[in-house]
């Protein structure tokens, strides 16, 4: 695999790039995570999103526990070549570990963060 396209990305000093996952069709921003070189390479090769878990310091194939994998339909890089935007189909319709459709469910209302989106499935069921 020619890796010139990987070399062109401006990785952080930690070898990472921020990634925004947007849902095909709805256009909803599902989540934000990070990839390293290997994660992005595997994402392209497999067609499924693989992130780098900074907390666990290991590759994180999205959905490995939950089954809520992301089928990647499109990959874009920004003007400064240091941020990636992927278009995904979210299997199971749940991207968030809280059991919600997407991760951005805290809405700023009158100086408070209010959880406004429903939990589709109890996380205890998802990760059991």
């Amino acid at each position: 695999m020619d890796t010139q396209w990987l070399d062109q990305i401006k990785w952080t000093v930690d070898g990472l790039v921020p990634v925004i996952a947007q849902e095909v069709g709805s256009g909803e921003v599902l989540m934000f995570a990070w990839m390293n070189r290997e994660a992005l390479k595997q994402t392209v090769e497999t067609g499924q999103a693989v992130y780098w878990s900074r907390s666990r310091q290991r590759l994180w194939p999205k959905g490995e526990s939950s089954g809520h994998v992301q089928q990647v339909k499109d990959i874009r890089l920004d003007c400064d070549k240091d941020v990636i935007l992927i278009q995904v189909e979210q299997v199971g319709g749940i991207a968030c570990h809280t059991g919600r459709h997407n991760c951005f469910f805290h809405h700023l209302e009158g100086g408070n963060w209010v959880a406004v989106d429903p939990i589709i499935k109890d996380p205890r069921e998802i990760y059991s």
Copy 2:
């Protein structure tokens, strides 16, 4: 101004939070940038996006040079409280410093990043 909602955000060690700006209506992800506490406070107070420029190490009221300000219609915080998603109206229809509608114009095609979106206005005209 009660700042409890600011305290609830999990800022990076540098005191920043990543911010995704999405366009109201089109749903397009326009850009990705960072805010510090003061930038987010000013964003909420003024209703216009104010970022923190890491390269220039100063507050960056979006559109200060170009006039391409962002009117903020909605602010959300993710599950881990460390990423923000804002819904904006993009004045001038140009979010990117290259004169394009949004910053994510490099499309991965056959192992190459291809610039696929048109330049709406020459940057030399925008920043003259």
